[in-house]
Symmetry: C2
Subunit: 425 residues, 2 copies
């Protein structure tokens, strides 16, 4: 058997069915550095997809921080340690709006599981609203918000899903009308939750609507939504797992970019450059309400090594000016993508180093998921790692480590151009 076949067999036996791999020919990655990955045969891939290695694969400063702290001490927060405090104070200083208390956990799922319970604790209501094409994690509670994975036990009626902005056309091209239509959908869901006796407690959304295909939305788009939620006495969670930590180039947080002031912010994936660390940040009164009602303690949460890894990520972001790089390289790449000439390109959009190209047939009316899947596979064989995104998986998601540079953007777009020319439409 080939190496790949052997590994797939071992995976199926050990991990069970439905353990999806990327690509028709799964990649056996053995090494990473910066924006590059190498497979077991020595083939090199430009990583245009992975946001977890935020400051670059195997970044030496993050590795050193983890090593130094692991060699010194790793223990829990029943003892005093500066690590969690130094990190949390620096993290929350990026936010303002009284968002200055924090719980550190290990995964974005754990963060959202807590955030939703904070919403319940503060409002006393169980009703949750999310979009109809989202993903916020995989605990039992959070899995009820997923659009594409039916939770064990089936759907619950205290979660209501509203059409996300990508599914609401700007009426007459007006973002104001689209923003109001989105808020109206939320009002309708609030009314339904109240009528069914659950009450409305919490709206959770990714402020970049990343899984929804990150439609272009102007600053202030969520203002009518905020009004509706505030009038109903609800809480807003901004899930920053994808747009956070400068990914979109001009703002450190996705909620700043869209002009939203959330009550609770959750974060995960990029926070420790791959080390399992995540967090919930909120205002002191929400934290107090939650913590006084439930004495949350997480053994691994905020341990000195996790704090050191997360701190090193903030250091590298600053030292290497990676948010600025996301802005400049992102603008450059977006410009190049906009010059691609192909009949099925329906849209090119994004912000910073979170970009996408959408494909459709028949004059932009039929989402071309099959074409997009073939393109992603073809690009893998050309040495560029991408993946699909959006309601119909008809867009490619370009979301490389933040050290992605203009030469790499050139290589990506040239390769994409070659692939598009070679693929039957």
């Amino acid at each position: 058997m080939s190496d790949t076949a052997t590994l797939l067999t071992r995976r199926a036996q050990l991990l069970g069915p439905n353990m999806t791999t990327f690509y028709d020919d799964p990649v056996h990655i053995v090494r990473g550095e910066g924006t590059w990955l190498w497979d077991a045969d020595g083939n090199r891939f430009l990583d245009c997809y992975n946001n977890v290695p935020h400051v670059g694969h195997a970044h030496p400063k993050v590795v050193q921080a983890i090593t130094d702290q692991a060699a010194t001490l790793n223990t829990h927060t029943r003892y005093l340690h500066e690590g969690i405090l130094d990190y949390g104070e620096r993290l929350t200083a990026t936010m303002g709006n009284d968002l200055d208390t924090m719980i550190m956990v290990c995964t974005g799922s754990e963060a959202n599981d807590i955030a939703l319970r904070m919403g319940r604790a503060v409002t006393g209501k169980t009703g949750i609203i999310c979009t109809d094409n989202t993903y916020h994690g995989n605990t039992d509670l959070v899995s009820h918000l997923s659009a594409k994975k039916t939770p064990i036990g089936g759907a619950v009626d205290w979660v209501r899903k509203v059409p996300s902005p990508d599914a609401i056309e700007p009426l007459g091209g007006s973002h104001e009308a689209q923003a109001q239509a989105f808020a109206d959908e939320i009002q309708t869901a609030i009314n339904a939750l109240e009528a069914d006796g659950h009450g409305f407690g919490t709206l959770i959304l990714c402020p970049f609507f990343a899984n929804e295909g990150f439609p272009d939305l102007p600053k202030g788009f969520l203002d009518p939504t905020v009004d509706v939620v505030r009038r109903a006495g609800g809480i807003i969670i901004a899930d920053e797992v994808q747009p956070g930590f400068g990914r979109t180039g001009r703002n450190f947080w996705g909620h700043e970019r869209i002009g939203l002031v959330p009550d609770i912010v959750t974060m995960g994936k990029p926070m420790g450059n791959g080390h399992p660390v995540a967090a919930v940040v909120t205002r002191p009164e929400i934290m107090a309400e939650f913590r006084n009602r439930f004495g949350y303690f997480n053994t691994f949460g905020g341990n000195p090594v996790s704090a050191a890894a997360a701190m090193a990520v903030l250091d590298v972001l600053e030292e290497e000016q990676l948010v600025e790089n996301a802005r400049d390289t992102g603008d450059y790449a977006l410009g190049l993508l906009g010059q691609l000439d192909h009949p099925m390109i329906a849209d090119v959009r994004g912000a910073g180093l979170f970009l996408g190209v959408e494909f459709a047939r028949d004059g932009n009316t039929e989402a071309a998921a099959d074409f997009c899947a073939k393109l992603v596979d073809d690009m893998r064989h050309r040495g560029v790692l991408l993946h699909s995104v959006g309601r119909h998986y008809h867009g490619i998601k370009i979301r490389p480590p933040m050290c992605f540079d203009c030469a790499q953007a050139d290589f990506l777009v040239e390769t994409l151009d070659d692939a598009l020319k070679a693929l039957p439409v």
Copy 2:
């Protein structure tokens, strides 16, 4: 302000209220090595409590494994990698009974959250039974099993809590009668869940009953319980977060020790020596049922660094014969503890390096939690870190890193003897 006061103030501001620290005078730990910890003033403490640094604080082999892998590659399981496979095959080889499929996650809470959903997926029933003095984690779902922390939203009636064995006296000294009484309690809970329309799906327990004060129970104690659960078509989860990985000295798993064959095994804390890693192990048909119904994916779960950390723990356990050490040093320490002479010592018990001394007044009838708390604080000032355990927190829990040696056992028991002589009864 003193260093401690400053840190406590910063904690309160950043982390919110109800962030408990151990001891009247919280310890500011800055360094660890083996079984020793040092505070910021250079004071050394013998760590007789922490099970997370399983093979010893800052073990160089684990640190090296983490460093080497983090410097090479850290990514997720949508790509192929040997790390998770090599580890999972080795881990499941310790179990037998067809327990040979695995999901890797980041915390014991995540593991139990999945395990409970596996029980639901397989049985189609929502009812869960646990003991009335347990703790299995802190996600929304798992928090409903906690005896001492009321979940947000209050208790749910699809969780039933049975008196744990420590609360059931061996009738006429007979463990058989006690075992049957425990099984009878579970049968009563099953009947109630069925009557209330939830149905009975899953029994979850720590096979060492660690949070219940680890009462001395013979092998086979759970046989009547297993009969009752099997007759009702239920699933049994063994939560090995505390007794697993050889902690009890004569068995690698707590369920082996008590002679239980569980359907699902969960593990966490000691698995990566402090690195956030945890796992669920089960039989292939249960895994398939769960994974086919819910396409679980955990970004950090089973990443190469976590797998390397966990693998290094298994390596060190073998190379340093730490399970054998837990048996021998544990026996030695238990013998010494048994020789302590104090009117309030009600019981001395445990297995391997999981030992306890219970305190009571009035001829063993009144649990002496206050005395125990004072003793724990006093020992901290004498340089030995312990904590309390049990239904009334009237026992001290002795659960040091697995490299604890006989000289350290001597120091522990001598110090305990001094403290007991000095403390007013």
